[in-house]
Subunit: 214 residues, 4 copies
DNA sequence: CATGAATGAGGTTTCATTCAT
DNA sequence: CATGAATGAAACCTCATTCAT
């Protein structure tokens, strides 16, 4: 039910999908659906919540550090972390294209209810925290706001997937990696990174806003 | 009429907008509309065509070179060109938010007709040509496909605007510049640029690029 | 079950009450109801039958004569009997407002079945007999038909209760008594009542009917 | 449209009447109806308003005094006035049985809007004023509240009409007159009426509650 | 026995579109 | 030309009822 509604909404959008279309695809009667969900809007919210939750799970393990991390060059570790984030997102887009497409639909806003909006934020949060952490450690530039990074990152991925769907692009692992490295170059700090022992001292008092190096 | 329909579609999408809604907003009668457009679909295509055309115009002069360009450092010239492209797009998004939002809507596809799809491609084309040109001249990296660059670029802008609309971000000229520079760093070649007169070997310490593979 | 359905029907009428509403109010499942009653219509008939029966019971003892009656002035006895009838009805309306309201609903007719209609008549019958008896005894006027009396009596009570429910009237014992006495004056014979032995001879000169305007 | 809806609602009640039933009876399409009335509820309110207005008109001329009135016995004049009121109502019930039946439906309340409720009151008002006037002039008893009189009067008429519809009664002019005279006897003062010049002095300080005559 | 799940028919309302005027 | 009135189809949703469990 969720799945079939997700697919329908992803394909044609909320307004473009009629309840009967969903019913037929699911092979159930109207009343069966309406016993589960009080309205079409409740259905799309349930679908949205589930989709966001899956996206959240896809990102959840980003923070896991390899055991070997401690021994390696901090810049490498940070890059690997970035790679992990991007690849999770990319994997999600590749493995759950329908879910991704649904989430990527513009402007769910008018019909999303409170819980859905809350969820939306809660999925983004860990990503934002990670970026802030990397910034604090001098790995990511501080002259690019975290908000800008996230919007750019997600936007870029969405753009790639959409271009691929429209046939402007044959998206594969290579192309995803190209974009990922480009973004990394755009976001990563160019200063040498102090190692773990001295970092804190030297990075104190970094202006939190852009243009520090100018 | 166009303007009113554009606004309605941008606000609620094609399927979310009813003909009566447009009629009321425009203050005309159904028959008046149907004399101009044979159907709702024809209307949205006309609107789309016009919107894309305006976007095309916004990009059209990107290729104009300042008279001073010839005298300057090729890298600077290239960067300036990139800045021009981005700023045109950003300006378009800022000055015609409704049009931008409309174009940014996912999946016009199902109801776009032939001319509209053709137009879609024709607007992107000059941008692609510019990128390819810059690549050939060694200003943009060749290890990032032009298709990837364009998708990333446009996607990033869309992502920023959308984040701004949802309140995750207060988009202003500074933030747009942050994103632009990040993308430039991601796309720009780090090798010295061979140009007709000089080849400058000034770039040192690119540092972060692809050091993962060591 | 009966009670719950009665309340629902009284509140919103037969057509205005859905089976699910009743189910929820009763806290039972559809199947439970349908094992007891074959259909919604059967349910409302059962409810109707029970309600009419209760009304019948409320009127049943009207005919009981106080032991003292025999000793008193016949007019007083008759008046007391009338008071008893009215007060029974009024008490019923006061003590079972929901049932009263249900019965008072216009036009059960379309969905009442045979037994229900039979019951309807059987409840009215004793009242009619009483009135006819009183008429025969010269206590009630003979220039007002028993059918008119009953319809007026019941209609007046319904009107009072309805006016009260709509807030046009604060119905209490006093107001009920006002109406009762007014009706009594309207229905009671003005001639002195001969006792049982001479009554028949004196009943000449019906007179007053429709000649008031002289 | 109004007429056909009125008939349908009068026949089966608001909830018992489906929009398609009205449409078919009126021979129009759903959209035609919905261009005139935003909803079924708006329709029933419009119908109600019109019906009450017609009832109001039926009562409007009650107050007209015959030229001859001044010369006649005050009690006769008052009685004639009462007759006029009743006969207007009865005529309305007879000439517009459908409208009468519609208005008589219990508990429009849940779906009536503001204007409808206001109208309901405004129709009753002149009748109430007349009764109060008659009371003040010593024609109607003061030991029966005006509210009680009105509720009784209207209720009695409704009761008669309903009994007639259900076949308990063959309502004709005679029976209507019987009921009318009975009510008159119930409501009319039994004291001799002082003429216009002395009335005010003698009727001062009448107890407003019942049992004056006891 | 009692229930949760199911359903076809039908409820009210809106849509995209047409056409006489 | 422009409009108000009209319409069939379809939208979302609820109803009275049934049946496997």
């Amino acid at each position: 039910m969720h799945a079939v509604a997700l697919e329908a909404f992803a394909e044609r959008g909320y307004h473009g999908t009629s309840v009967p279309q969903i019913l037929e695809a699911a092979g159930v009667s109207a009343s069966s659906l309406y016993r589960l969900f009080p309205s079409k809007e409740a259905l799309v919210n349930a679908v949205f919540l589930e989709a966001k939750t899956r996206l959240g799970h896809a990102l959840a393990e980003v923070e896991g550090h390899d055991a070997a991390d401690a021994d390696r060059d901090p810049a490498s570790v940070a890059h690997a972390r970035f790679v992990r984030i991007w690849d999770r997102l990319a994997r999600f887009a590749a493995e759950e294209p329908v879910t991704f497409r649904f989430l990527e639909l513009q402007d769910h806003t008018p019909y999303l209810d409170g819980p859905s909006r809350t969820k939306e934020l809660s999925v983004l949060a860990p990503l934002a925290l990670t970026c802030m952490d990397l910034q604090r450690r001098g790995v990511l530039r501080t002259d690019v706001g975290v908000d800008v990074m996230l919007a750019t990152l997600w936007g870029a991925l969405v753009g790639l997937v959409k271009a691929s769907r429209l046939g402007y692009l044959a998206l594969d692992a290579d192309k995803l990696a190209e974009a990922r490295e480009a973004l990394w170059r755009g976001f990563a700090s160019t200063e040498p990174i102090a190692d773990a022992r001295t970092r804190r001292a030297t990075r104190t008092n970094e202006g939190t806003k852009r243009r520090t190096e100018r």
